[in-house]
Symmetry: C2
Subunit: 280 residues, 2 copies
């Protein structure tokens, strides 16, 4: 395969002596080292000096800040939201670790400098107004200080339905909401929880049935192409393939995020190989 997959996990484009180790140094020291890098005569560093004009174009608010949203590159989960000033963004771009400005402590902080749960940056994106940024990256572990995967675990609908609930419903998008439901069914089986039967449980209890369904659904997906069926049939059959495959993943204890990481690393590698071929 030779797919370029160049948006994610680019290698740092600054020389190794400029590569910031933010563990366990303080964030302010990290910034000093970034500026030290910018003063060298290394051509790679001069290329990085382009960052100045970029930072000048950002619409910092009256406190010199923009909203910074950290997002998991594989799952799309919004991990946390903080603020960045010029130094925080500069540090993030060069160190490839998500860095924020703490308004309460009036200082930079590298997410993970205490917990070691860094967010490893793939790329940073600006919005159309240039006053909001996304730190797209891969977290080393749970992002929230509570140990939760993300900071967004209080569902307004849940609170309104039951104000006494424990507010522990992560903001999950479709694929991960389905994954969560499948995992709950698996837990119900292993804990002999008495609930009504479900198709997911039948599949989890019968590997032969599960595998025959996966092969059958894959075949039906292919036939939508071979027999020139309507695209809506393709979407429906692909949904079946995904759902049944996800039951198998749950059965094997594999997360969808693990699969996406495999895909990302695989296509990142083929992207590097493709670039290398072009340069020959």
């Amino acid at each position: 395969m030779a797919l370029p997959y160049t948006n994610c996990f680019r290698l740092p484009r600054i020389s190794t002596r400029c590569h910031l180790s933010v563990t366990p140094i303080r964030a302010q020291r990290a910034v000093s080292r970034v500026f030290a890098c910018l003063k060298t005569s290394d051509p790679a560093i001069h290329r990085e000096a382009k960052v100045g004009p970029l930072l000048d174009r950002i619409k910092w608010d009256d406190k010199g800040l923009v909203v910074a949203i950290a997002q998991n590159v594989d799952t799309g989960a919004v991990l946390m939201q903080g603020f960045a000033n010029r130094e925080a963004l500069l540090t993030t771009i060069f160190s490839r670790k998500a860095t924020f400005y703490s308004r309460s402590r009036s200082t930079l902080w590298v997410k993970g400098e205490t917990s070691m749960n860094f967010i490893n940056i793939c790329d940073v994106f600006l919005d159309c107004d240039r006053d909001s940024i996304i730190y797209l990256g891969k977290p080393d572990g749970p992002t929230c200080h509570t140990g939760s995967e993300t900071c967004y675990y209080t569902s307004v609908d849940e609170v309104l339905n039951d104000p006494q609930n424990d507010c522990n419903t992560l903001a999950l998008t479709t694929l991960y909401s389905l994954e969560s439901t499948i995992c709950k069914r698996k837990e119900e089986i292993s804990s002999n929880f008495d609930s009504r039967p479900s198709w997911t449980k039948r599949l989890l209890l019968d590997n032969k049935l599960l595998c025959s369904k996966i092969r059958e659904e894959a075949d039906e997906l292919c036939r939508t192409l071979e027999e020139n069926e309507d695209p809506s049939r393709t979407a429906s059959e692909m949904a079946d393939v995904l759902y049944h495959s996800m039951v198998l993943l749950a059965q094997k204890g594999v997360k969808v995020e693990d699969v996406l990481q495999v895909l990302r690393l695989r296509f990142q590698q083929s992207g590097i190989e493709e670039k290398s071929c072009r340069n020959k």
Copy 2:
């Protein structure tokens, strides 16, 4: 199948006479109608009055605002970021249309009230500090005023590599970055763009090969369960199933988002059926 899938697209829990039509009424009028609803004697409305204590718990900043991030429930894409005051959040919760407070115009605005590209809310999530919220929903169309799917289309890495580029790289997570690459390969074929061959192109040019690969990879995924292989093999084979199936989707002009919408609506329906059974 009887999977509950209750996190998304809950039916509005207020009576139909309270269901806000935000098209084309002005947002301020929408708020008035919300408050009018709260004054009725309908028990369903009184239940909704629980929203007051919830709003009281939010840490509004010195301007009475919190950061509000709109996220696509199916793809996980961060669509836009704005701010919400108490009225904007209240309107969003009741009307199920993402509503913000415009700091420049000092007024509420329902996203889509002009463009008709509303963001239909599934749920709202608060972060651990209760000063940042996610509007998790399904957009009717492009979110950005530029016509872009999301407002985040300027990649810092792209700008630093080539400051003259057209800044049109969406912040895509792994699955959608791969989908974008596959679609580019398809466009290269149809435009006879002279680039080096790739496995994706071979698959796109040979439906028989593509379908045989999908069936083969589905079989290999199943064998990781049947033959008790290591979970890392399962992740790898599932990555193969996903990639090859996504090439078929591209061949048929079907988006991954379409498939996820099928899954969401299907499991929302089974969730409603399950609840209905429980209430019998």
